[in-house]
């Protein structure tokens, strides 16, 4: 038995005016525990659908998804999801948001408080513990969403364009922050993005999806050092990888828009 996340022969059809439309087809993916994988693809490549399948919010038309050999059926706190809009609970304070998943587990209030405090500290939001999400900036809200998912100590953290709505400077801060969190918590991360630079900067491995239907077009190892800073983005190896992957994504984009 192999450990980690396994997607085998995944296909997903959505109902369409005539019959159905296939958005994912024959996707195979293996993610080792503790790995950081990014999935990139042009719009329409079904990359968000892929995450929803792993999260258990949708079920695949064909194929199986498993963690450590156990098939995934339905959503659960072992696969935390953070999406572009964060989807915080606006009536709960920051700390109550982070506590949501823990409230559903049989642990003591003291244990829960200790864990919430740790994750708030980790994401740098301790001073905002009592604030309502409406008072936070976009970047802070995404930090809360990440802390909320991580507090349940998931096997894998699923990130669906988590920084897509942020301005460029905040986005860069959040990328450094996410690398730090990944290293601190040793959580497995699968992240979907359309931003190739972001994918190369963050991941150990990048998957390129084709469009309509989404298939895995390529898998690229990102053999950069683990110590990644702003300067990393300007090094030749980084730029080479980025150009290589951007070309692949653009090719996919052209093929779908021209035909």
């Amino acid at each position: 038995m192999t450990t980690g996340l396994h997607l085998t022969g995944i296909a997903k059809d959505f109902p369409a005016p005539r019959g159905s439309r296939r958005v994912l087809d024959g996707v195979n993916l293996h993610v080792d525990p503790g790995e950081f994988v990014c999935v990139v693809g042009a719009s329409g490549s079904g990359k968000s659908t892929l995450l929803d399948l792993v999260a258990g919010l949708k079920s695949p038309t064909e194929g199986t998804i498993s963690w450590d050999g156990r098939t995934v059926a339905g959503p659960g706190p072992d696969r935390g999801l953070v999406c572009q809009t964060g989807e915080l609970f606006p009536w709960r304070t920051v700390e109550q948001n982070v506590a949501f998943g823990l409230e559903l587990l049989p642990i003591s209030a003291a244990d829960r408080r200790r864990r919430v405090a740790w994750y708030l500290e980790e994401v740098g939001l301790t001073p905002f513990a009592r604030a309502l999400p409406g008072k936070l900036s976009g970047g802070q809200r995404q930090r809360v969403a990440i802390a909320r998912a991580l507090a349940c100590e998931p096997h894998v953290l699923l990130l669906d364009e988590p920084f897509g709505a942020l301005d460029v400077q905040t986005k860069e801060d959040m990328q450094i922050f996410l690398r730090q969190v990944w290293q601190d918590t040793t959580t497995t991360i699968v992240m979907v993005t359309h931003d190739v630079e972001e994918a190369v900067f963050l991941a150990q491995r990048v998957l390129v999806l084709t469009s309509s239907p989404g298939r895995v077009a390529a898998e690229i190892e990102i053999d950069l050092t683990d110590e990644r800073t702003f300067a990393t983005r300007r090094t030749p190896p980084f730029l080479r990888l980025r150009a290589q992957i951007e070309d692949m994504v653009r090719t996919q984009h052209l093929q779908t828009t021209k035909t």
């Binding site: 999260a55 959503p75 609970f89 559903l104 653009r250 090719t251």
Partner: protein
């Protein structure tokens, strides 16, 4: 064509011939508009203006009433003076009937409206939460909603007699269907994606209802109740127009029989004041519960 060639062939999309644009006549120029006017939507007004307009909203009708009724051109049976109205209110207060009538009406509203809420909030919540509940209940409720509650009065008297139950039934019938549909609408707005994310945090259907859908929709439910409280207050007066021995509606019918329009006016003012108090109370509750929305 291999992918490298394909990438290099990327050019700007075909564009309209530039010379063609040059042949067009110039667009008619329009003088720059002055800043915002009174008709500009959502234009800010100053705080003194706001309060002035609010005061005028009450004072202008009051002044019109005073002028018309004291001018002598209108028969006091049609339009009593404010002084006569005030005197009538004092008389009714002294005899105690104003208080027993108000108490009777308020009690009916509290009971009837309360009963309507107890029925409508769970049903509306169910319809907003479960598609099967919506499909099963929406057609019948949508239909009955258009049948006026006041038209049921003769039927209710046949079924329930002339006593208290038929009056409460009018109130409940008048409010319950609207409130069910309004609550269902509010509850249905609970964002799908938030519900999905809650499930990835371990929420079961029960948890989703208690910890996500309910807190999300509570302010909206109170808002719906507020709108329907006004309706309930109207229906209590209608219900009391028939076969009552006390209540503000009864007092109006009775005063009408003796052409005491000053008393009718006094009761109408009391009805208005209690209605406003009810509205303000529910609005404060809503703002308290819905603090997170601001």
């Amino acid at each position: 064509m291999n992918s490298q060639d394909q990438l290099e062939s990327v050019t700007a999309p075909t564009r309209a011939a530039a010379w063609e644009r040059a042949t067009w006549p110039a667009l008619p120029t329009r003088r720059a508009r002055r800043g915002a006017t009174w008709l500009s939507p959502h234009r800010e007004i100053t705080q003194p203006t706001r309060w002035l307009l609010r005061a005028l909203s009450l004072l202008v009708p009051l002044a019109a009433w005073i002028t018309l009724s004291t001018s002598g051109s209108v028969d006091p049976t049609f339009l009593p003076t404010p002084a006569a109205t005030w005197q009538a209110a004092l008389d009714m207060a002294k005899s105690g009937e104003l208080f027993t009538d108000t108490a009777a009406s308020v009690q009916r509203v509290l009971l009837g409206f309360g009963l309507a809420m107890v029925i409508s909030i769970p049903l509306g919540f169910a319809m907003g939460t479960w598609q099967w509940a919506l499909a099963a209940l929406e057609p019948i409720i949508g239909l009955v909603r258009y049948m006026p509650a006041s038209a049921f009065i003769p039927l209710l008297i046949i079924w329930l007699g002339l006593g208290e139950p038929s009056k409460l039934a009018v109130l409940v019938l008048g409010v319950v269907f609207f409130n069910i549909l309004m609550v269902a609408d509010v509850v249905r707005q609970a964002p799908r994606r938030t519900l999905e994310v809650a499930q990835t945090l371990g929420a079961t259907p029960g948890v989703l209802i208690r910890k996500v859908i309910l807190p999300y929709s509570l302010p909206g439910i109170i808002d719906a109740a507020r709108v329907n409280a006004a309706a309930a207050w109207n229906f209590v007066v209608i219900a009391e127009l028939f076969a009552s021995t006390e209540g503000l509606g009864y007092r109006i019918t009775r005063s009408g029989r003796f052409l005491q329009s000053d008393r009718i006016f006094a009761v109408l003012v009391v009805i208005g004041i209690i209605g406003i108090a009810l509205d303000v109370g529910l609005r404060l509750l809503r703002d308290l519960v819905g603090r997170w929305k601001s």
